[in-house]
Amino acid sequence: MKTDRELIQEFQRGSDAAFNELVRRYLDLVYHFFQKITPDKMEAEDLAQTVFIKLFKALKKFRFESEFNTYLYRVNINTANTYFKRNKWRNMLHLDQVPDPGYVETSQERQWRKEEVWAAVSQLPKKQRLVVMMRISQALPFKDIGNILNMTEGTAKVNYHYGIKRVKSLLGNNK
């Protein structure tokens, strides 16, 4: 089985088949990432497609300064960030929506919806938003988050601390 590096090098020499092999290898990871970001399956698929189109352009100039995995996370996180920015106002409206009175809670503690959580996260400043996004969607250690976002582990922790505090207040922490 060829390594990622070998496949990328083949792609850089003009082999589209090598790129398709990379897509097969990483599609599940990318798609699952966006499934956590949006409840809409079509939207998750579109975002995954956006990531691979970006990769198709970027990998031609990839210089192997970082691991492909790390690079892929960066592309994922940037695409998600753009998605949040685009939907910021829509998300803010979601936050203000009054719950449907006909809806009966099945548990004593209200479950937050995915949209509510991301609507709150999308209101954070960029660095906090990226760190919180990585932490709650991928459950990655702060060291890895720092590595992906080009910051130290300490900076990632501080950003997470302030970010999560703000999310808590936006969601009302009614659990």
Binding site: L27, V117, A139
Partner: protein, 127 residues
């Protein structure tokens, strides 16, 4: 359950798989569509540049000879007609007038009036 775990639970979703071959086909189609759009945009820009260049050159051509004097445009009269062809034409026209006009003095005074010297001089030489 701590707050972070609750958030992770809220955003978690049942892992569904996509049909990879179908996705690759869609991706390839999307890439081609994007490339087509980009090439159309580039050719559109090039066409605009050509139109602009032709427009500027055309404007400059038309503008030649226009002189702005006291807020009004005047056009220079220094247009080069083909002198030989013109004089030949006017000679023929003058001869035609001379031949057709019954009263030769009327034709003569007409040519004198329009300051057509060539025939006038010829007539004077003959007389």
């Amino acid at each position: 359950m701590n707050f972070e775990a609750k958030l992770q639970e809220a955003v978690s979703s049942a892992s569904e798989m996509l049909d990879k071959e179908k996705f690759i086909n869609k991706l390839t189609a999307a890439r081609y569509a994007q490339a087509l759009k980009r090439s159309q945009a580039i050719s559109g820009c090039l066409a605009m540049v050509v139109v602009l260049v032709v427009g500027i050159l055309g404007y400059n051509e038309l503008d030649q000879g226009a002189i702005l004097i006291e807020g009004s445009y005047y056009f220079s009269t220094s247009i080069n007609f083909d002198q030989d062809e013109d004089s030949e034409y006017f000679d023929d026209l003058a001869l035609y007038i001379m031949e057709q006009e019954e009263d030769i003095w009327m034709a003569f005074s007409f040519l004198d009036e329009i300051e057509y010297d060539k025939i006038v001089n010829l007539m004077e030489d003959e007389s």
